[in-house]
């Protein structure tokens, strides 16, 4: 197994009210390819900030973040966007589906950044929806789906471009227990059957139990 995510001496500071707030403090982290890791910690511990850095959504104040062999700090903003579209799959706490697009159209979105034909995009998005068990709901708008189903559509969107890494930010935070269990089972399946590297931020100990490795953050450092 090779290292899929490597965080080296990363510092992230924010300016708030004239004061410098150090959210991540010389943090080191390594995640192997094909692992399913959970990131836990109290509010303000830096979990989401770390996830944003690993996902190429933000830049560290210092240090280096390397994901799937790419050093994110060296990339321009446009290059980071292209890299995200090819390398990452996103799962958000509030699903973040586009409300005016159908389930199939939402899943197809990442493929619009590729050179695939319309027919091929449709075929792949249908396959992804089949993987999450929503092949019967392809034409439904998000408001016609339950929370659990919306999150499954979001997962289908996250895997449709066959990314190396899936980042999940509180994927079960807005769901009831049963739906949360279903989503976690699906994530485990993606990890074990499809070999996806998954990094999940969560507050939920039961969700963290499903991961192979749990990292605990406190005041910007790994505990």
């Amino acid at each position: 197994m090779s290292t899929q995510i490597e965080v080296r001496k990363v510092v992230k500071s924010f300016e708030r009210g004239g004061q410098t707030l150090r959210v991540l403090d010389a943090l080191d982290l390594q995640i192997e390819e094909g692992s399913f890791d959970a990131l836990m910690g109290p509010s303000g511990s830096g979990k989401s900030t770390l996830l944003n850095l690993i996902a190429g959504l933000d830049r560290p104040t210092s240090g280096e973040v390397i994901v799937a062999g790419a050093s994110l700090g060296q990339m321009s903003e446009a290059a980071q966007a292209t890299w995200r579209s090819r390398t990452l799959g996103f799962i958000f706490q509030s699903y973040n589906l586009i409300p005016v697009l159908t389930a199939q159209e939402n899943v197809e979105l990442p493929l619009l950044l590729t050179n695939l034909s319309s027919a091929e995009r449709k075929r792949r998005s249908e396959t992804a929806l089949r993987v999450v068990g929503l092949e019967q709901r392809m034409g439904h708008l998000p408001r016609m789906l339950s929370g659990g189903q919306e999150q499954r559509v979001a997962i289908a969107r996250a895997i449709v471009n066959d990314p190396a890494v899936i980042v999940a930010d509180e994927p079960t935070g807005d769901l009831d227990r049963q739906s949360a269990d279903d989503i976690l089972t699906l994530l485990q399946k993606l990890n074990t059957e499809l070999g996806k590297t998954i990094l999940m931020v969560t507050h939920d100990p039961m969700a963290a139990e499903r991961a192979k490795t749990v990292h605990r953050l406190d005041k910007g450092r790994l505990a």
Binding site: L51, N52, L57, E77, R86, F92, I98, P99, L101
Partner: protein, 387 residues
Amino acid sequence: MIPVRYNLRSLVVRKATTAATSLGIALVVFVLAASMMLVSGIDRTLGAAGRADNAIVLRRGSDAELNSIIDVQKVGLVAAAPGVATAGGGPAVAGEIVVVATMNKVGGEGFTNVLIRGVTERSASLRGALTVVEGRAPSPGADEVMIGKQIRGRFPGVDLGQSFELKKNRAVKVVGVFTDGGSSHESEVWGDVELIRSSFGRAGVVSGVRVRLTSPAAFDAFKQSVEGDKNLGFEALRETAFLEKQSEGLRAFVTALGASIAFFFSVGAMIGAMITMYASIANRRREIGTLRALGFPRWQILLSFLIESITLALAGGALGAGAATALKLVSFSMMNFSTWSEMVFTFQPTPGILGGAMAFAGVMGLVGGFFPALAAARTSPVVAMKG
């Protein structure tokens, strides 16, 4: 690319704000298109009567027939000039007198000036499209007139078979109604030149002389001959150029009025479009952040929201242009500043006007939507991660 259906459906979802903004833009496009259609109607009305092989001779320094006076005995000098065509065994020349009469409008809506033209037997043949559509032409020397189609029934007695007073105690009978291809003549009363001269105390003079030339190319020689004798004080103009000059003032007035109103309204409409787009983008920050997180670059977000704004404006533009086109069914009268008489105009929609109005709507969408679209493009992808 972000699919256009995303923008279209987002507009449909926000029905009320989309409709309100579109209506604002529709109003601007309506005003602009209507004024352009009116200018087109003025061009048609005042320009339709012109022929390239016709000339008009006026007293030098007169802008219009109304303030030109030519001794009737000098009409023969014009007829003898080179390049004058012959018709019916004589020169194709008509010395006409033009006066205005004040008439009350039907229904007690006040009064207005009507142009009265004293004509000869040759006058009708010098107009390309003049046709008596009902009744007959007035007989020479008789107290009879014919009226243009556009003023029929607009004044008491001004209708076929009825009588009205040209001047106090000088009643004339309407014996015919004519059309002239939509030209300004259709807003005139035509009577025998002697009848009009005697009624208005203009004995021995005409306002101008209309001439049919052998060809358009004969004009230069004709002009040189007619204007050569400085003592006569004549000025020769091509009929087309003369009519274009006649419409200049009214055309400029309507254009300036329409453009001014459209300009000020458009500023309001663009601000409206801007507010709508800013509000829409503020409500969709997480959606935009998600698109950015998924890898859509800034320029695609900018383009997507510009498309949305332009679509919104074009929907309003289509509504405004459609409503303005319906004005084709309406005719209304305005004062022609060169003759100080009432003239009936219709709105004339053309593909060029409709295309121009839609382009203007598109520009409003582009300008009004640019800064909101720029704000959308600058949305950080981190926004997507915030719950």
